[in-house]
Structures are given as C-alpha cells and as structure tokens.
C-alpha cells in the first residue's frame, strides 16, 4: 500500500474528495459521527420497515394484519428512512470518494440498491396495485410472496455490503 500519493482516480471523484465539504467532514470532530448516526438511523428505519412488510407479503400473520393497513404505517417509515439515508450516504461518500469508487463492497451495495428499488417499482406497479383485493387473504398472491422474498434478500444484502465496505 502506498501511503504517500495523493488521491487518484477520475477527476470528479478527486474534486469531490478534495472539496471543502469532504475536507470539513474529515476534519470535524463531531459532524462526521453525527452524519454516521443519521445514516444508521435512516437505514434502520428503511430496512426495518421494509423487512417487516416483506414478512407480511410472504404471508406471516396474513389474516391478522391487513396488508394495506400495515402499508400505511410501514411504507412512510421506509420512505423517511430512505430520505435520511441517501443524503447522509452521499456526505460520507465525499470523504473517501476515490477509495469508495473502487471498493467492491460499495459497488455491490449500489448494485443491490438499484435491484431493490426496481423490486419496489415492480411491486407497486403490479401486485401492489391490487393490494385491497388480497389484503386479508390467508395466502398472498405468488407475485407478492416473490417480491417479499426478493426484497428481504436484497435489503439484507445492501446492509451487509454497507458494513463490509470498511473491511475490503
């Protein structure tokens, strides 16, 4: 490992990393942990709410917990979490943009987020649109169960890759 060269990589990454924003975050004693805390709070809300809803999609407690009612509680929580996690994630990215851009765990995390968002779009565009019809069904339709299982796997994957960034 070479410890004496400047940040290397595409210009925009170097510019981002050497920007005042990146520099103040690295130098700040408490701002950086505050951003980290907000990022963690964001993805705790996001992934926690989504995983709970996924379990319902798969069929856990299906007749007891109407899917549409549960969605009214959990989906805004997930959206709030997303709104906290994304900007704070971007701030953390600026502190080490050049290293993160070639970190395999970070790249895998971004890829999994894209797949997980596509999965959400698929749900809301297809089986989710008819949620009222199966909201109290003992066994949710196959589409809902598939989306729920995929979402579970994808978001756990996002979480795992996020944590592994520091190790690869």
């Amino acid at each position: 490992m070479d410890h004496d060269l400047g940040p290397a990589g595409p210009g925009w990454l170097v510019a981002l990393e050497t920007s005042g924003l990146g520099e103040s975050l690295r130098q700040s004693v408490w701002l950086y942990p505050l951003v980290e805390i907000t990022h963690i709070l964001g993805f705790a809300l996001l992934v926690g709410a989504i995983l709970a809803f996924d379990l319902r999609l798969i069929g856990i407690r299906a007749p007891l917990l109407p899917a549409d009612a549960l969605a009214r509680l959990l989906l805004p929580v997930a959206v709030t979490g997303f709104a906290l996690a994304v900007p704070t994630g971007f701030l953390l990215f600026t502190t080490e943009a050049t290293a993160l851009a070639r970190n395999p765990a970070f790249l895998a995390k971004l890829g999994l987020i894209v797949l997980a968002l596509l999965n959400i779009l698929a749900f809301h565009g297809l089986v989710g649109r008819r949620m009222a019809e199966w909201s109290l069904a003992d066994r949710p339709p196959p589409g809902a169960r598939f989306v729920g299982a995929a979402s579970l796997a994808l978001w756990v994957g996002v979480l795992a890759c996020g944590r592994l960034i520091a190790y690869l």
Binding site: D4, P7, T95, Y167, L168
Partner: protein, 118 residues
C-alpha cells in the same frame, strides 16, 4: 519562503487523503500475538475521520500508524495539533497482516501523555 507553509500543508493534505480507510476496521487484519513498540519521529499526521493516522520514521523505515477517531483522541487528551511532525512519539500496537509497514496502535505516548486508543 512565503509559500512554504501552504505548500507543506497541501502536501500533507494530499498525502492524508491517500490513506485508505478500508481494511482498518476491526482487529482481524492485525497480528494480535505480535505486539510491537515503536519510538520514532512523526513525519506526517492526519487528524481525520474515520480515524487519525500518522507516518512514523522508526527502526529504519516509515511506519503507517492507525490511531483512533479524532473525537476519541480529543476526549482522551490528545486533541488536534497535540501531535506535530518532527515530534518524537512512542506507539504500542500490532502490525497488519497484509501490509508490512502498517501498525494499528493500542496506545500512543506523545507530549508526555499516554493515551489508550481502544
């Protein structure tokens, strides 16, 4: 010589930026059975998040020493500017398995003050 300070600062800054934070978390990447004590001269220090680091000239080579987050360093008595290039410090720690010149410090003695980093 009016430009010397900004230039030195820029050089230090760019060097500090090159230190990847990856692979510094946790202790699995370090030889925990091989405790080392290094006394030497600080060449560069980056008091940065996610953790402070310094380059230490000791034992005929330059060691890359990983310290604690700036907040913890400050809380335990070594705030920013308490360690400067040219200063002599002693670190006790473990060498990295993957990098023969990297040491993760357990404690540092600087300016007559010993601070536990874990």
């Amino acid at each position: 010589m009016t430009h010397a300070r900004p230039l030195a600062l820029a050089a230090l800054l760019s060097a500090s930026l090159a230190w990847p934070a990856a692979a510094h978390h946790g202790w699995g990447g370090y030889e925990s059975g091989q405790e080392m004590t290094l006394t030497g001269t600080v060449q560069q220090i980056a008091f940065n998040n996610p953790h402070a680091m310094l380059n230490l000239q000791a034992g005929g080579k330059v060691w890359h020493v990983v310290l604690a987050p700036p907040s913890r360093m400050s809380t335990r008595g070594l705030p920013a500017d308490s360690i400067k290039p040219g200063q002599t410090v002693t670190v006790v720690g473990y060498p990295a398995k993957s990098d023969p010149a990297e040491l993760r410090a357990e404690r540092i003695t600087a300016a007559d003050k010993t601070v536990e980093l874990r």
